[in-house]
Point group: C2
Chain length 341, copies 2
């Protein structure tokens, strides 16, 4: 029977799984809810990961535990944050009945890096809701910079950009900051209208500001990260450009810090992932990518969608298979196709 | 029977009440939990305010609803945020059985201002957990600047200072920011030790940073405001001084915005309240006060502890009494003495 491996990229809002055979062919894909034990809780995270795994097995035509999944198919889960023993036990309890195991949990940074490069050594930068950079050596994360969370760090992340966007709009509406094109964009988004100055003079406070305060505080703070794309939409607006410029400064600093650790980084690969640098609109992102590549001593920049391909590559290597850049490219196309089903 | 009024300063963490007679003599004081309907909920806020009122009546030797409280004693409650009809009804339901009423709810800015000035026109700045400035005309708040909350605004506030403190320490520990004396201060506070650089090189990440991340995220974001005083403790530290300097810039901007509304502000009073400017350590606060006074076109700066005296002054005026600066001074001493019982 063909050997198989199950790859899972477990994120805070969704978990994706893919069953892959030893020749790196996708057999099935699945998706479920958030699978991070820190944000979702140990048992909820394990449940969602098992749901995604089950969906991938079903798509591959398996009955759970049936013969088409080779016994001892390794599961590689990539995720952020700390891994507790209780979480490992919960995963085993949920995945063993599906005929899967052993279970290996790797840092999301390693999955993201592995999605973009087959080399054992390189640099990775993730700028999604949060931001973190890592130095990879011998397929291990040997140094991590950033990733301290939205309150303590994550400079240049989606949250960081969005926080500056909403504060710039609040300051504009409150007349303690410069006028910005972000204001009508955000007001339209939350269904209000910025008043003219003469209206404001007759109120204790702008009613648009009151509406913004209500809207932004109607949910957890981290939820404002969804507003980051406004900075990319306000083309030619000086306030928005300054926010993006400062964001790239912060991200470049992370990259410099992990690049400086090795003297032989001149030919390294910089894998970048996360919505800020991957889904952001051009041309802001193009110029950002150039600056980040420069910060990484001229490394080749490879954007990736997520860590699922990297998790699959780690699983294939556990099966004793060699994974080169050509295989990675095929996996990227194949798993991206599976994601849209 | 002597006419009386009950003053309540209802804050997010505690509510203070004082029963005062028409000659501005304190008859009794009381204190209870948080009385802000936005943060505590309508019914919980009304309950705490009634508890504080009851304690003040008890101290004055009254049985609730008994004869020593004059019928129709006005209640003046000063508090931040919006006032709903449901909240007014809850207050009536809790306070009427105590023989109190009518109930008047005024903005906390007006109470704070009234604690420091008997003039009907002036300027007030509050920098506690949040920050807001107001322009008072004819004893009404005619313009409010700032106070948008910690996520959208509140530049220069305790939260704002504390957020910069914890981020500066996180960046120091993560080697993406300058060394600062804030780091050993904060590490000592949370019971950890910053590693030496040679230790750090052998770890994926500083263990002190991990400890800081856990500590800071172990509670609601706003709770970090308690760390603001660290900025005042790190004397001569450039990072701390830069944070305080930027904070005063933000506060001065708020003051300028409300000062600029009148051309005759040259002799006005600037009342300042809130822990940042009142409890902060010298000499940082002294220099800040000078700059704020300058921002208010040279207004006389009067620091106040809270809005309780202002609430009492509003109640006395409802009884038809005149309240001048001498009366205010006496009320301040009298109510402060009541607070320590």
């Amino acid at each position: 029977m063909m050997k198989t491996t199950l790859a899972v990229d477990a994120g805070g809002t969704s978990s994706r799984a893919a069953l892959v055979d030893a020749s790196a062919r996708r057999l099935g894909s699945g998706r479920a809810g958030g699978g991070n034990p820190t944000s979702s809780g140990v048992d909820a995270a394990a449940t969602q990961i098992a749901l995604a795994a089950r969906a991938a097995l079903d798509q591959a035509g398996n009955t759970p535990g049936g013969p088409a999944v080779a016994a001892g198919s390794p599961v590689v889960i990539t995720q952020a944050g700390l891994v507790s023993d209780a979480y490992r036990r919960a995963l085993d309890a949920h995945l063993r009945p599906l005929g899967l195991g052993p279970v290996v949990i790797e840092p999301d940074l390693l999955g993201m890096y592995g999605s973009g490069s087959a080399s054992p050594d390189g640099i990775v930068l993730v700028a999604g809701t949060g931001s973190v950079a890592g130095r990879i050596r011998d397929r291990r994360v040997v140094r991590e910079v950033g990733g301290a969370g939205w309150l303590l760090g994550d400079g240049g992340s989606g949250f960081w950009i969005a926080r500056r966007v909403v504060r710039a709009v609040a300051a504009d509406l409150d007349d303690i900051g410069p006028r910005t094109a972000l204001t009508p964009l955000l007001c339209q988004m939350i269904g209000t209208t910025p008043e003219t100055t003469s209206d404001q003079a007759h109120r204790r406070r702008s009613s648009a500001l009151d509406a913004l305060i209500r809207s932004v505080n109607d949910g957890p703070p981290i939820a404002i990260a969804r507003l980051a794309p406004l900075a990319f939409l306000a083309i030619d607006d000086e306030v928005a450009l300054a926010i993006l410029d400062a964001a790239v400064d912060r991200l470049a600093l992370l990259v410099e810090r992990v690049t400086g650790l090795d003297s032989d980084d001149r030919d390294a690969t910089l894998v970048v992932g996360g919505s800020v640098l991957v889904n952001g609109l051009l041309p802001a992102v193009c110029s950002a990518r150039e600056r980040l590549s420069a910060a990484a001593a001229g490394a080749r920049l490879v954007p990736v969608a997520d860590g699922l391909v990297g998790a699959a590559a780690l699983g294939l290597r556990m099966l004793g298979e060699d994974v080169d850049d050509a295989t990675l490219g095929r996996l990227r196309r194949d798993l991206a196709a599976g994601a849209t089903r």
